[in-house]
Symmetry: D2
Subunit: 344 residues, 4 copies
């Protein structure tokens, strides 16, 4: 299987290379990076020296014909066009941007600042969260790989929205994210002396991932449930915690059982007996979920942990690829725990 | 003014020494530490070498008579007795434990594991949050210095509970805390290789600071408002963020104005135009507060930041001392931004 | 091939499990840990949940008969006896302690505080640095896996001691180590609030790894060259830099060429064009080496980087195992870059 | 005393503001910053809100006439001219750049890339290391504030170069520096995800601070002693360790006594009984020094620790100011332990 990674030099791209380096059924036939075009992978990222991928060269032009599967790690707007081109050629596409995640294309001008011109393809693209849309992914040509916050949050919510046991029209979500979620581009607040030992909320009322979460909640539950979302930056390289609060009439035991049953055959979801820690999911495709109920307030508290670059991006993209091409879903993904350019 | 610090070798004790080292009206006449009894302060904490406090000696026995003000940095249960003894002698006492924070003494067995024997003194002790109880603190003999989570959260809530504009019976609080909040005692999860780059929620439904917060909310608002509280540990030494969510009928501008007015003369409360960062309050007595309203969900989001060892413990204790003895409240507290044994 | 890990719950043990989890030719048939005897691996280290090793149980008693290869991750003194027992049974043993590293058994009382009773076995044990002793390792029954500082330093020195081009009787070595090198045991200086943002030298004139380094230097060069060694702790979980200074008459180009030639076929040694970074070797078995000469002072500066838990301990142990049993040396070791309980 | 800070928005400038905020004899009458000209200090650095300096405004044009003391925190080349202008007006100048540090002006093209046009002023400028040049600083018009590596290293060497007890023509210096030493400008290697948990040597044979160190060594000892210098970056915001190795005929006790005597009246030098830690000097003007001798190799090992932004830059500049204007040298500098924008 010939695979292309477009936008290969950013964090999600480099993580994809790492995950694919374990994947025996895959050949990376092109790496696209405008910034490093013409350079060897190992000259930009020396940790690839003396590995099988040492001599891969970053290229500028995408070969639209030779590949079987294309991973796009591009900004949102350029992805719109390129996904369309590849879809028109019948290629399998896994897009890590938000370009094809939200069915309602009117959200794009408001949240992403551009008009989306391909409503039909948007309609056909499958949201790549296997635990919810597995059977659609199997048949998909274009998979929109979910955002990191939506992945963590929707996996924390799926059993209760599927069973319709949330008793309010709003869920409160507080999330913590590692700094790699903001990408490789430099910003003053991510300069080490100012980023270490610091933490803060950001985008406290309007974050791009809100319509993505609400859209899926509605598609699963049939109900309009709003997400009151506050993300926070914490001084870790990678990792994400999502703490989700809502009212329910279920008792604690019923709630825990609901999650155990729903996820019992899932290869990458683990129900934890204590609140999950970033260190247990970092560098992997796992999502750990803790389920509890505050009996004093009658509110459920569901806490999930993922690696924002793993289950929140690159390893989930590989999971989607496995499903799309008919390989066992967890193949070459289970025995990976580890890191990359970002670590330690 | 002669001052004693009892339990002086832990983090809050050492921070107190740091804050008092700037305070020209204070003489530390005794440092009590069982663990280091007989040792010089500068032999345990070498950063005091060649400073004015270099030769202070940790002692074992408390001199109950010679001091004007006593700071207690002890575990909760031993504080109960010692505060009583000092109060009986008419001393001014600032207790950094929870021993005298909660008026309802029935909460002690449930949340702290011991029976509280001094209901009368509990009734007379003043909760040491100056922004709410300043006039009581002026006359107090015993001040119960607030917990760090309650300080950050109650300062984020005070204007709206005072004006009674919360429209629900529950507020949702998610908080982030630095590891120093757990004290100097070693635990496996705080061993550097396992603590760095990690984060997680803990005590997700039952934390000791909940009755403390609900008690004050009720005393201010007259209403039973429950606090749905989830604390998280993040890999910073010190600093705390509290993100508070509730429903209100106020508009955004009204809400912001309410906070600006309430806190406009407060020396240590700063209304921030963006969500506050730990780095701006660490090592100081400031509390930075950001006020916003999510118009989609009709919910307010108030975010506060403090240093858990500063406004959340030791510098607030000094602020309380200033008020109790009639010194200008911010004296020698304003020009301190900085660190201690814990830093950098 | 049936493999046993004795002392499996410490950092080097857990890292071994991680490296072996990729190794298709290996079955871990027992994990020994007194501390966690009877517990499931995944209950102590939850990141193993839903992986193939989930159900392994820590045991207390070593089965001396059923295994093919035994990895010992024990304190030095207990290793002496257990290695002897296993060697007497003809088992292949890889000992990660210092118990069989130093040929001169008189060094043990001075540097390790015990008398070594098995001089004959000490003589036969092979020092497990494949780049120097590969052919001996192939035939070895007992391999003494090198210390982390000696690994980094001896790999930085091997070409010049082999070719005898050091012109002084002392080399100056300054090294930086991550905190995991001190193990999982808690100490006050490794409590997160005191360990983060801190750094310091330790054991500035007498470190246990000095006789180990000098012994190998003498065996390779035939000369008594002293190592003037200063290790430093830096606030990283894992990773090690060794900066080695000595006088030589070689020119810069000759020196660089010497290293390139010596290591050109080595699978895990990479000659770097700039000083090596911890992030490029962490979680792997690589050793990156930079070679330079300060023409003003006539002194060579060789800088090496390894992961103290990788090439400095556990992955080097797997490399040794591969050699001992006749598997290609880099099998299942090359495509691993990543982390473990310690990360991120 | 009216004081101006030119280049006030970088790390050394902001640290200067912090140190001067404690200095009761000083009024900051202008802050110069091209980048933030016209902005309030507290809008750029919110931690100054509600402090006495809240309303200071960054200006663009230097007022050369109104000040008594000028601190220059500029790049090297622009400093050359501005120091000259201020000196011609008879102002007291403390220059934190390297523009007037090296007496031999031929070093400037080689190490700094520009010709130095003011040899005469260069000759008159005083090197601002008070422990060596105190009496010159008292009379100086222009003080060249030392670099951070030279400060740490020269204080570690001063007693032995003064007494001429080094027996070789080369000293080996290995140093560790926090990232703030590279300034506030963003670089990819200082982007948090790539900087945290990483460490590496840099400029391993040619660093700009070498001629500065050798120049002072020669002026003190009269001898040409070369410095074989390897600096390393470690993942801390601030702090520096310098480990200095040389041969001597002194015994350990003599060596220790030499340091104790030389520095016994120094207010900011502390002889430590164990290798010094960054955490004990961070945020302060102290330099902690440990003295030892490796009897096996006959080499001394001297280890010093400073805060690169404190004794290595801004607080040393204040110490120099105090000396220049006749204030007690440690005034308002002793009770500061703490941090700033960079912390925690």
């Amino acid at each position: 299987m010939k695979v292309s990674i477009i936008g290969a030099s950013g964090y999600t791209g480099v993580e994809l290379i790492r995950y694919l380096s374990f994947h025996k059924d895959v050949e990376i036939f092109q790496l696209i990076s405008r910034q490093f075009s013409g350079k060897k992978l190992s000259s930009v990222y020396p940790h690839f020296t003396k590995t099988p991928y040492e001599d891969l060269i970053f290229e500028e032009e995408v070969d639209l014909d030779s590949g079987d599967v294309y991973f796009l790690c591009l900004p949102h707007e350029p992805s719109v066009e390129l996904v369309k081109k590849l879809a028109d050629k019948g290629k399998k596409v896994i897009d890590l941007s938000a370009a094809y995640r939200i069915k309602n294309k009117d959200k794009y001008p408001e949240y992403y600042g551009f008009e989306h011109r391909y409503g039909e393809l948007l309609e056909k693209a499958v949201y790549g969260l296997p635990e919810i849309f597995r059977s659609d992914i199997e048949k998909a040509g274009v998979v929109a790989n979910p955002g990191c916050y939506p992945t963590a949050t929707l996996l924390a919510l799926y059993p209760v929205i599927k069973e319709d046991v949330i008793d309010t029209d709003t869920v409160v979500v507080n999330a913590l994210s590692g700094i790699s979620g903001a990408g490789r581009g430099m910003k003053q607040q991510f300069h080490y002396p100012e980023a270490h030992s610091n933490a803060y909320a950001y985008n406290p009322v309007k974050h791009r991932h809100i319509p993505e979460m609400e859209d899926i909640i509605k598609r699963v539950s049939g109900k309009e449930i709003k997400v009151r979302f506050t993300p926070h930056i914490i001084p870790v390289s990678r990792g994400m915690i999502s703490t989700v609060i809502f009212e329910t009439n279920l008792k604690r035991e019923q709630l825990v059982e609901l999650y155990r049953l729903e996820y019992r055959y899932e290869p990458f979801i683990r129900i934890a007996s204590v609140p999950p820690q970033i260190k247990n999911v970092a560098g992997s495709n796992f999502c750990d979920i803790y389920v509890d109920l505050d009996e004093r307030t009658g509110q459920a508290v569901i806490i999930s942990a993922i690696d924002n670059l793993g289950k929140g991006a690159s390893s989930q993209a590989v999971q989607n690829m496995n499903i799309m091409v008919g390989i066992p879903e967890d193949k070459y993904l289970k025995d990976i725990s580890g890191s990359s350019i970002l670590f330690p």
